[in-house]
């Protein structure tokens, strides 16, 4: 009985600490976590430029398409290891959706990142050749994003 009550008290304490900690942590993420989230947002923004052209939501512009594809390739060359230091999974801290499986399966994570590089490279080849070529290449790239999120990104 005593033990139970103590456990309950310490649980309440932990919960209170966790609750007060969340707000602070969200603004105060470690640099590498902020950096990796930033790189993913750069991917999404440039993919958006290409995707909107592929879907006909934006006019096709060969130069803008090429610049977006070049940016995707550039981001895909960023070395990931320094952005994923130990102790920054969603189990360790708030404000990240990086699954602990990344660290257990680093090799597989690296393969998914290379897969992104390969798909971005193909997109770079065709981006300036016309609107029709964008759809399939963007689809391929999307496959590379999904494949990694499927295994390594936690739900909200």
């Amino acid at each position: 009985m005593k033990i139970t009550r103590m456990t309950a008290t310490s649980l309440t304490l932990v919960a209170a600490l966790a609750a007060s900690g969340t707000a602070a942590l969200a603004q105060d993420l470690p640099g590498p976590v902020k950096a990796r989230q930033g790189q993913f947002n750069i991917l999404a923004i440039n993919l958006g430029i290409l995707g909107d052209m592929a879907r006909g939501k934006a006019d096709y512009d060969a130069e803008a398409a090429q610049a977006a594809a070049d940016t995707l390739v550039a981001v895909s060359m960023i070395n990931q290891a320094p952005l994923f230091p130990e102790g920054t999974s969603e189990m360790d801290i708030d404000g990240t959706r990086a699954k602990a499986e990344i660290w257990d399966g680093w090799e597989s994570f690296g393969e998914k990142w290379s897969g992104l590089g390969a798909a971005a490279g193909e997109l770079q080849q065709v981006a300036a050749t016309g609107q029709e070529a964008l759809g399939p290449a963007v689809g391929q790239l999307g496959g590379a994003c999904k494949a990694c999120h499927d295994d390594f990104r936690a739900p909200e």
């Binding site: 999404a44 494949a147 739900p155 909200e156």
Partner: protein, 297 residues
Amino acid sequence: MRGLLGFLVLLAALAGGAVWMISAPDRLPAGEFADDAGGDPVHGETVFTAAGCASCHHAPESEDKLVLAGGQRFASDFGTFIAPNISPHPQAGIGAWSLHDFANALLRGVSPEGRHYYPAFPYTSYIRMAPQDVVDLWSYIRTLPEAESPSQPHEVGFPFNLRRGLGLWKQLYLDPAWITAAETDEARRGRYLVEALAHCGECHTPRDRFGGLQRDTWLTGAPAPDGKGSIPALTPDKLSWSAEDIAYYLETGFTPDYDSAGGHMVEVIDNFAQLPAEDRAAVAAYVKALPEGGIMD
């Protein structure tokens, strides 16, 4: 405490002979699905893809999604279910089954030996499948490779390991009626995909404490069954995407701001990317027509 309560409830239930009767497996009449000639495996493949059979039944680490060896684990409040081998292997899989056995599993949730299946196998949606689609699906599944690995037992504790109790559960929750109304052919196709084959509701609809889908909050989002995170709502008060955005998401996995889908939705998208564009459009139209808050009249 909860276990004891469940036990008492169960005892009381079992004491009633009438209850024992209604918990008996309800099977298809012997004459139905007697003849397995006339199945079209090409169309069966489309049914298989839309219904996501491989998503649950492929082996956990395998890249070849067409080897239906089973082994994936599905955690829930009631224990962990492990998908069985449904490859055409005669001993390890379902190679020795008849079409009638297969139809009973999909449309009634009953095994060839007359045991109830757990609703982790979404027969609560498949019960709405068209009979010819079941025949075609069977002829397709029989063309897939055999896998030798035997099915593993579920990790489910007392009292949920007593399958007979599922008969009562089915009385409450196994209902072939459609959830929404549909007036046009496109609407009927969208409804068929969402409510029967692709079983969107199994993930996106909240469940009550017995694990039954709450039809009056249809597709309003739910906690993830493994307890980590939540599955988003699809009703228009929560999801403001256009029909075109939804169809594009089902094809590519991209949200309107080009984030990319994750988790179990990825398997659904991998399947839908292989379906005709009209099917994705029909599902998108269905989602756009949902009532706010999921409340059905």
